[in-house]
């Protein structure tokens, strides 16, 4: 055995150094978010009555599907916290581990690092062992940090054994997904394939648990995500789920090591499908190429945004109860109109920010292609600067128009089934598409930057982040109007609460078209990097 792991001691610190910054940021983020939410909880539900009211909301199947099964009673404030935070924190920890482990396994193999290391006097299992040690250290560190920080805060209703169990659940869930990723790395032949399998498993387990928690209980016992809520942290403190997580990690880990010992370097256990010999007619057009390159990205965002809309539509029926009992939520709704109308107007404002992301990502791909030296190949053919810019601009505009429309259709149809008082379709559609000029304006800024300040194109994200800050913190921080008005989204009338102001929308669209034209002129006359 010893000769198989020769050199692990040298590899471990090297790998640790490679990933320490990224891990540090992840850990800091996780601990910070957990602690600040935990700190806020006692204030949000100060008395037993508000906790009871919350438990009524939690009986809604939509909420159970989203957050998992609830507790019998909510006397301990920690139980509320665990119910809302445990599942999503576990998913975040899993994502950290998937990204880490796919880099440490298939990615390093794909880039030839493993080959280089293996050519030295190093055991066959050393690299994987060192990778596991890095992953294990990250998760143990997470547990230690969480326990220390949460204990130090001394919040009422957060017992020590509950804190330890909560942190261990997260850590061992991370361990399971790190291990699972190492296992998938043997199946796929690329790091991309490894991540797709791992994220797919995470998504699948989430769905399995959602169905299990609402309808068929045994399905939840197949999904590791289902185990988490069965720990009844802070109340029952059942540690069986931690044991289950650790045992399955060890089992899968052993398989991963056995496969590592048997498999040829660079090989994958699943047969690689032969790809297309020829390009389809669609791919051979400039717009087709741009869309095909971003197919997965666009699809993921579309599914994500539509799913969010479905989830929010599901709670439309219980809105009144939910908002009347939750003071924190009430702070958001300050406008006119009934609760549902206000809620949808606010939801659409936030979703407009989310939709901005795929619009920008899609257009900035043009800059990404340039940085990756791939525009050179196209520009050396009979493709002009304007043609390529237009291709990327058209697909970004398509996203900016199609996504708000689809979202309105989804939100309205699900809402119409759930609630009898659903708004008219025209109003929902209006509330959503009214933001298209704002999306185009941010897109215009991106075009302007790519034409004249190509190295600073990422600055466009500032406008999006600022939009988020104004919407989320504008009321809490009591920002003055002129500060809010620096966000382009603030100019959009909150239809149907406010009158539609066509001049404003036309002016916004006009400015964005102007910026696109000026940006295009810059793009036409500047040097290309590659």
């Amino acid at each position: 055995m010893k000769r198989h792991i020769k050199g692990t001691g040298i590899l471990f610190p090297i790998l640790m150094r490679q990933h320490r910054l990224r891990l540090l940021l992840w850990l800091a983020g996780l601990v910070l978010v957990t602690c600040s939410v935990a700190y806020a909880y006692p204030g949000m539900y100060p008395d037993q009555a508000s906790r009871e009211a919350y438990s009524i909301t939690m009986e809604n199947p939509a909420m159970i599907a989203m957050l998992g099964i609830g507790y019998e009673h909510y006397q301990e404030i920690g139980s509320l916290f665990a119910l809302e935070m445990l599942l999503f924190s576990a998913i975040a920890v899993a994502i950290m581990n998937i990204l880490l482990m796919s880099r440490l396994t298939r990615d390093d193999e794909e880039n030839g690092i493993l080959e280089l290391v293996q050519s030295k006097s190093v055991g066959r299992l050393s690299y994987l062992t060192a990778s596991f040690m890095v992953m294990l250290s990250a998760n143990i560190l997470l547990i230690i940090l969480l326990v220390t920080a949460m204990t130090a805060m001394r919040i009422d209703g957060f017992g020590f054994s509950g804190i330890v169990l909560y942190s261990s659940l997260l850590g061992s869930f991370g361990l399971l997904f790190g291990t699972l990723t190492a296992f998938f790395a043997h199946l796929a032949t690329s790091s991309r394939g490894t991540s797709i399998f791992s994220f797919g498993a995470l998504f699948f387990f989430y769905l399995l648990r959602a169905i299990g928690d609402v309808e068929v209980t045994f399905l939840s016992w197949i999904s590791p995500l289902g185990w988490l809520s069965r720990a009844y942290v802070f109340v029952g403190n059942n540690s069986l789920p931690v044991v289950l997580l650790l045992v399955s990690s060890i089992g899968i880990g052993m398989i991963a090591f056995i496969l590592q010992a048997k498999r040829d370097i660079g090989d994958g256990l699943l047969p690689e499908r032969a790809g297309a010999m020829r390009a389809s007619a669609f791919l051979k057009t400039k717009i087709g190429l741009g869309i095909r390159l971003q197919r997965t990205m666009i699809l993921m965002w579309m599914i994500g945004i539509l799913l969010l809309n479905i989830v929010f539509a599901l709670i439309l029926g219980d809105l009144e109860a939910f908002f009347l009992e939750n003071e924190a939520m009430q702070a958001f709704l300050t406008g006119d109109g009934n609760v549902m109308e206000q809620f949808i107007v606010l939801l659409m404002a936030i979703m407009a920010l989310f939709i901005t992301a795929p619009v920008i990502i899609s257009f900035l791909r043009l800059r990404g292609e340039e940085k990756a030296n791939r525009t050179e190949l196209l520009f050396s053919r009979a493709v002009s600067r304007m043609q390529l810019l237009r291709a990327y601009l058209v697909s970004a505009i398509m996203i900016a128009v199609v996504l708000p429309t689809l979202q309105a259709i989804t939100l309205w149809s699900v809402g119409f089934i759930i609630s009898e008082e659903m708004m008219s379709f025209a109003d929902v559609l209006g509330a959503s598409v009214v933001y298209i000029p704002a999306l185009l304006l941010v897109l215009g800024i991106a075009v302007l930057l790519i034409g004249w300040l190509p190295k600073a194109t990422s600055l466009v994200w500032v406008f999006l982040v600022y939009g988020f800050i104004v919407i989320y913190l504008g009321d809490i921080l009591e920002l003055p109007d002129w500060v809010r008005n620096l966000s382009v989204y603030e100019y959009i009338p909150a239809y149907p609460n406010e009158e539609l102001s066509y001049p404003v929308l036309l002016i916004l669209s006009g400015i964005s078209i102007l910026m696109m034209v000026i940006g295009a002129l810059g793009y036409k006359r500047r040097d290309m990097e590659g």
Binding site: R192, A279, A372, N373, V383, D527
Partner: protein
């Protein structure tokens, strides 16, 4: 007919002068070698030709059209192969070849398949899994299968194995036979020697030498090996003789071509038994140029 012309091109990046008054002219049907070490300005020159970079001064024309303004128009008749080929990792090799060919209009699938075959290329794999050589094949297939009149090749064989390099050279010869023009930038001198009619040497952004290979050899030395009946005393004192070495009665030295007559006359007095001369390889020529330049600079 002039296919490509660079007229006193200067390109500055900030204060750095990447190209200094570079002039080149390619006639229809010739293979023109463009040689120089890494960082000399070969790729910058080519990117100006392709309209990717705008020249600070001077004029670049292809087929009589402006390289910057009419880029897309010009490229319909051009095929370009870069030294480092970057392709979309999630498309297959076959898809990338088709996309590149289609961007220039219609193309012959038969010709494309023929070149896929000749380069023994598997077009069904995702581009992310190809090696450097295989990625280069993508660009080469897309170039040779196109109906271009001008081929701009920027160190196109740096990742190919010798067998594929041969296929590449065949391809370039066939292109020439079809009356087309090739600009071949390289630092692999033997390749340029085998293929090119004329060459230009670039160094630190300036063209330092140009002409046919024959012209350039005149400027330089022959490698000589001589065996004589009597020892040729005083050979070392003759002008035009360099790096004289003696091993067991055999003399080897380099001779300046313009002193050849005197040297032969002198040697004949000592009864020549055996005499071999080899023309300088481009390597020698190249090395010599650099030695001279750097010694001048040092002085």
């Amino acid at each position: 007919m002039t296919m490509l012309q660079l007229d006193r091109i200067t390109k500055k990046f900030g204060d750095f002068k990447a190209l200094d008054q570079v002039s080149l002219e390619l006639k229809e049907g010739e293979i023109y070698g463009f040689i120089g070490p890494n960082g000399a300005g070969k790729s910058t020159t080519i990117r100006i030709l392709l309209g990717m970079l705008k020249a600070t001064e001077g004029r670049a024309t292809l087929f009589g059209k402006d390289a910057w303004k009419d880029a897309a128009e010009i490229h319909k008749r051009c095929a370009y192969v870069p030294g480092d080929v970057y392709v979309w990792p999630n498309l297959t090799g076959g898809e990338v070849i088709d996309v590149l060919l289609k961007m220039n209009g219609s193309y012959s699938e038969k010709k494309r398949d023929e070149w896929v075959e000749r380069f023994q290329f598997d077009p069904t794999k995702k581009a992310r899994s190809y090696s450097k050589g295989n990625r280069q094949k993508i660009a080469l297939i897309a170039a040779f299968a196109s109906e271009a009149d001008l081929f701009i090749l920027d160190e196109p064989t740096s990742g190919l194995d010798p067998l594929m390099e041969y296929t590449f050279q065949q391809g370039v010869r066939e292109v020439k036979e079809a009356g087309k023009t090739v600009l071949l930038s390289s630092h692999i001198l033997s390749e340029v020697e085998k293929l090119c009619d004329r060459v230009a040497i670039i160094r630190q952004g300036k063209i330092i030498e140009r002409g046919t290979l024959k012209d350039l050899r005149h400027l330089t030395r022959m490698q000589m090996q001589v065996e004589t009946r009597e020892a040729p005393e005083g050979l070392a004192q003759l002008s035009g003789i360099h790096q004289l070495k003696e091993t067991e009665g055999q003399f080897s030295f380099q001779a300046d071509t313009d002193h050849m007559e005197e040297i032969i006359n002198y040697l004949s007095k000592y009864g020549v038994r055996k005499m071999e001369s080899t023309p300088p390889t481009l390597e020698d020529l190249f090395m010599r140029h650099y030695e001279e330049r750097s010694s001048e600079e040092n002085a």
